[in-house]
Symmetry: C2
Subunit: 134 residues, 2 copies
């Protein structure tokens, strides 16, 4: 896959407001968007730090993917997302190159972009996302 | 701190050659530099993925910081590094804003840049580095 670069780093947090305040205070972070997606049980904020982006993820319920991650690992780094031109061709290309997809087809992510995840076992323990943000 | 953006994402790996091959194969990664630092017990490669950078870290010995990280967490995301103009003023500014430093003064990192680490407890579980790459 020809990635343009890192689109964002996803970080699991226990308290979204507190984490946002930390990124604003320490790194002059600026909130780009904040969404609450009940059906995925997650509240998220995309935060610009200089020319880069971190995505803060908080669980609305322990029995959600982010909630289970937090219960197992505690807060911290959750995934790395690479920007690609086209998520569909990127995920097919990744599979052809031996990666194990979580999403074999693109789906729409929390912020409205096309996304797909690759299983961390394919990428040395790193949950990896490809995203097309137009 | 006014960060320019993410300088790199640090990833702990069990086998540096295998991880490099994966990033080359899946993401067209290009090795920027590779170093072996006996006194820190680490071998590392900086890999360009599009316009971004990941830093792959392998332990030369289990009794090293990266070795202990791998024993505890397994391979995966290790730290996030932000590019700053001046590491000395950045770390002083971070401390003034309430962060707990690991390095209260800049030191020279594996790739010859000035770096300093901030304790993950200050940043919601994320081991955070500031780096000045000139």
């Amino acid at each position: 896959v020809e990635a343009r670069g890192i689109h964002h780093v996803g970080l699991a947090v226990l308290d979204l407001d507190e984490a946002l305040a930390t990124y604003e205070r320490l790194f002059d972070g600026r909130v780009e968007r904040r969404v609450r997606v009940e059906e995925q049980g997650v509240e998220a904020a995309s935060v610009l730090v200089g020319g880069s982006r971190v995505e803060l993820l908080a669980a609305l319920d322990p029995e959600t993917p982010v909630g289970r991650f937090l219960a197992k690992h505690g807060p911290g780094m959750h995934h790395v997302a690479y920007a690609v031109d086209d998520v569909g061709s990127a995920i097919r290309d990744l599979v052809a190159r031996g990666a194990e997809p979580i999403d074999a087809e693109p789906r729409v992510g929390m912020f409205g972009h096309e996304i797909a995840f690759v299983h961390p076992d394919s990428v040395h323990g790193v949950l990896t996302e490809v995203v097309s943000s137009g």
